[in-house]
Amino acid sequence: MRFGGLAALTDVNFGIGPGELIGVIGPNGAGKTTLLNAMTGVVAPTGGKVTVGDEDFSRQPAYVFARRGIARTFQTPRVFPEMSLHDNAAFGALFAGGDLLHGGHAHRAAREALDYVGLAGEERQLAGALPPARRRLLEIAMALTTRPCLLLLDEVAAGLSPLEVEQMGELINRIRTEKNISIVWIEHAVATLMRHAERMLVLHHGELIADGATAAVRADPRVIEAYLGETA
């Protein structure tokens, strides 16, 4: 993956199994968001390959990823501000969740998802009026209605209070266990992430310097040197 002459990601190889919760860490500019963009068709990789199941998705547009069950959130939440929470949540159900021809299903899916993330009772409110922390929850609801098998979360805990971070962790865990959705979770708050994720990926200058069980990664000298040593 390259931007102009600069390689944003090189030689990053990993797979995701069903039901896994994988944490991704790395300092600013390590390529975390670029990785998510490549995994969702938002930006096509200049080299390398993205496969979903047995299919090559490297050149597929974003909507094909979404329909194949890969959902994501954004570092700065991107909700539709002039639509109600309900309409935001129903969006994915209609176009990626296979409910296009059954409008009633989309409404039910939207209500359930809003309820699931803790936004019940605010369906009629406009998303633009929502405080940033709750927009993150709405984005998760929007992702859930697409009926994903893989959910990619981009710093959903940033800017939350310690209590909210804890609740977010629980929510993500519940999604994984109750809905059996694989999760890739990028976060700056390394300690939180390590408490929930059983596997960690560490990116540094666009390279994958560690991939393994959380405990092993925590003890990896390269990781400590490159990243953990400075912050943890």
Partner: protein, 301 residues
């Protein structure tokens, strides 16, 4: 949905107008209805998607030429359908290229479309008949045109309401707010835009096919008149693009007001109209529609 029943008396009154008043009143209402149909067809796509289209003139002209070519060979109602299909087909074809562009690029290219259509038709006419301009020898009666345009305006309103309520309208709103985001939620943006653009074009094409019957003589410069497209966009600016009523109210008020000013102040009406437009944009940026009380958010459910 029961809403529209209360409009039935108004619709019936409008349909009876040709039998109640003189030809000028019919023709004034015809102008209102023509712009209602054009403005509603415009907001249908451009309202939610925020793609500012200046192609109304092109679609109108293409529709008008369907009547110019077909009158005398095919029944007129069929020509309205032909105009709709030709305009929708053109929109779909051209949309494949221009709908990949956003903002002012899209606006400029859609404006260029009417110039392009004008020259294509000019060339075609010259190579087929050796001349341009067609005389319509047995045009439909004014009342028939009026009723047809009334039906088209109502159909445009019904279609727009249906579209905005359904998934396509939802997708267009998503595209208007954040196109890439909508794509990550499963919307195929190009396909949705093509569908919306073509549907809107169909109405403009049918209106052009209907209006052509009024003019006896059709040539490319008459029917590809940029004024028609600009006025449509102005109407939506004045009325408001967020609700169908905005386009309808805008079209009626704009048409009547410009006619009134043109008659009352034959030399200064454009200055007055310009002033009113500037005031309305300054003080009612969301259009006249902002003055109407909004019903409780009529969302899904």
């Amino acid at each position: 949905m029961k809403d529209w029943i209360k409009w039935l008396p108004l619709i019936a009154a409008l349909a009876a107008v040709p039998w109640l008043t003189n030809a000028y009143m019919v023709s004034l209402l015809l102008t209102c209805l023509m712009y209602v149909a054009l403005a509603v067809s415009w907001v249908m796509f451009s309202g939610p998607s925020r793609y500012l289209s200046l192609a109304t003139t092109a679609f109108f002209g293409i529709g008008a030429y369907c009547t110019a070519w077909g009158l005398g060979h095919l029944p007129w109602p069929l020509l309205l359908l032909g105009g709709a299909l030709a305009a929708a087909g053109t929109a779909a074809l051209v949309g494949l290229f221009v709908l990949k562009l956003r903002g002012s690029y899209f606006a400029v290219l859609t404006f260029g479309l009417s110039e392009l259509a004008l020259h294509v038709i000019n060339q075609t006419e010259r190579s087929i008949s050796g001349t341009v301009g067609r005389v319509l020898l047995n045009p439909p009666e004014q009342d028939a045109i009026y009723l047809a345009v009334l039906a088209l305006a109502l159909a445009a309103i019904a279609c727009c309401a249906w579209l905005w309520r359904g998934p396509l309208g939802h997708a267009l709103r998503g595209i208007g707010a954040d196109e890439d985001r909508a794509a990550t939620l499963g919307v195929n943006p190009l396909r949705v835009k093509l569908a919306g653009f073509a549907l809107a074009a169909a109405f403009a094409g049918a209106v052009g096919a209907a209006m052509a019957g009024r003019w006896t003589y059709i040539d490319p410069h008459t029917v590809f008149n940029p004024l028609i497209g600009f006025q449509t966009v102005l109407i939506v600016m004045v009325g408001g693009a967020s609700r169908i009523q905005g386009a309808v109210i805008g079209a009626v008020i704009f048409s009547l007001l410009s006619e009134f000013l043109r008659m009352r102040f034959p030399y200064f009406y454009l200055v007055l109209l310009g002033l009113l437009l500037i005031l309305s944009v300054l003080y009612l940026p969301n259009g006249l529609i902002a003055l109407l009380p909004r019903k409780k958010a009529a969302a899904h459910g």
